[in-house]
Symmetry: C2
Subunit: 339 residues, 2 copies
């Protein structure tokens, strides 16, 4: 694959901005916002065997600003945003309120991916050309970050909606480059006998069909039987591919197009913008594990019209999720609103 057109800018506080595709230069006199000092720690919980990140500058982070103050919009005279451009296709910048910073314990970083310079809309409403651009951006960021010294895992994700804690409405996602393999990835990627579990699972779902929503162009979307969330959907490439970088451009486009159809169905399900998390699971750094099979998990947090799923004692204190919904019925309801 040819590298995408990318322009790299280093802000005065050392943070990188990457502009993908065409862009118009920043207005005269642009002054980048700068990162506050903060305390960053990485702490090991020996009981749960997990790392916890402490980032004690984040309490001051931007919280639901007015539209005119959006820090993800293009900069204009008198309003310097995070993006040193007065128009752009897609942009990535190192978060000003990160959960981890490079160089402390080891090479963690937090990037914000701005899907478009248009403030309104969402992943579900991106144009086909922006979706293609986003596929390139994600692939480029994964490739660069996974090769960075000290990085063990690159996690592309999106939080959508105020009920998931989102503080900015401009369409965007995030990428965390962890200096360790996170617990969910470690469990998924653990070596075991019998080949790739996800290959097996996709095969089973495609044979059963009962929970399959989309099966087109080498991409499968289904409600897994073991869904934690009422309308959880997994989207996977049917072929065993460890990461975005192992897909052809057209296979990537098929993956993102399927993801977008799911996001659109969510917004139609209860006639409200569905608050959700999107988590992309890919190979860790180094030689891909036999289990590494690229897939995307959507966790929508509404379990019914106006009803949120809460994580309570069983989920948080024991690690056992309780789901009120049968996966097969959820699949039927989602299928009815797929376009």
């Amino acid at each position: 694959m040819s590298r995408p057109v990318r322009t790299e800018i280093v802000q005065p506080d050392g943070r990188h901005v990457y502009l993908y595709g065409d862009f118009a230069p920043a207005p005269d006199g642009y002054q980048a916002p700068s990162m506050p000092t903060g305390v960053y720690q990485r702490l090991w919980n020996p009981l749960r065997r997990e790392w916890v990140l402490v980032a004690a500058s984040r309490q001051a982070r931007t919280f639901l600003p007015e539209r005119v103050d959006c820090p993800l919009c293009p900069s204009r005279p008198g309003h310097a945003t995070e993006i040193p451009a007065s128009g752009f296709e897609a942009a990535v910048f190192e978060n000003r309120f990160p959960a981890m910073v490079p160089a402390r314990p080891a090479g963690g970083s937090c990037e914000v991916v701005v899907y478009t310079d248009e403030h309104e809309g969402s992943f579900a409403t991106l144009s086909a050309s922006r979706l293609t651009r986003l596929a390139e951006v994600w692939t480029d960021r994964y490739r660069e970050l996974i090769g960075r010294r000290g990085v063990r895992y690159v996690f592309i994700f999106e939080n959508r909606g105020e009920q998931v804690g989102v503080t900015l409405h401009h369409p965007h996602g995030q990428i965390y480059a962890y200096p360790f393999t996170p617990p969910v990835a470690a469990t998924e990627l653990r070596r075991r006998s019998g080949g790739c579990l996800l290959c097996q699972q996709i095969d089973d779902e495609r044979k059963g069909r009962r929970r399959v929503l989309i099966d087109e162009g080498g991409v499968v979307a289904y409600v897994p039987g073991y869904a934690r969330w009422a309308y959880e959907v997994h989207v996977a490439s049917q072929a065993h591919r460890p990461a975005l970088t192992a897909l052809t451009p057209s296979a990537r486009q098929a993956l993102l197009a399927t993801m977008q159809r799911i996001a659109r169905a969510y917004d139609r399900l209860f006639d409200v913008p569905m608050p959700y998390m999107m988590a992309m699971h890919q190979a860790a750094a180094g030689q891909p594990a036999p289990q590494a099979h690229l897939h995307v998990e959507f966790y929508p947090i509404l379990r019914d019209r106006g009803k949120l799923k809460y994580l309570a004692g069983s989920e948080s204190g024991a690690g056992v999720f309780i789901n009120d919904t049968l996966a097969e019925e959820s699949a039927d309801r989602l299928r009815a609103v797929l376009a």
Copy 2:
């Protein structure tokens, strides 16, 4: 220990109710509410290596009823509640909208623990005598459930506040008897060399003192360095004891009194009733693992006045928690409101 005074009642739908201490009989004509039919499943997620419980009758469960309709209050003429008594000290009943039912896959059960017959108040405001009664109730339920065929783990917990999904305000907690060892317990109880981690941790915290809130009567409360939540507090018996049943009555009382002081501090911290989860971790069924050391974890979900901690992409999709607060500073703030 002598067994507490306990009266067992079996409702027409087969659910058990246990009344602890004194009680006044149900009003004439009492007719117990009955359990709706539902679909219960237990599904294995081979990727995350976890069980997920599906309970498809719960969507209809009681949601924030008016005070006069509270199903946890004593029954009165014309209002039959879950408790077949017109007055009581403490009561336990099998949940009418459970996450698991006995006999399917294997012996799971869900009990509701009603702390008092008084509708107002909370765990923080229970009288000393009710607190003593509650210690007996928890111990009795743990003893009985952990010995039940098919039960692998007994999880005593409380969800408090609407922001944690609580649908009934009457002071109560819950007990889940899982037919498997939940992931959090499995990790904590895993055998490892070097003795009990919690003994070591308590020792370190007591030496450091910086994060210790209470250290009295053989019970220690502290903000662990690796806290996931801004004001997470762990309460543990200093001596290595696997479960409530291994404590003397006075040691149990000391534990609950310390828990109550923490709950009271939470309500003072931001001058609002703090929404939290309380999780009690004890030994699994069978011979206690060397790591089994009774402790209680409080997860308050406010990270600041009016600000909730949300579980978003990093927490749900990767398993990595991000905390905005330094444990030492949280300990200082909590210490300032301890009484």
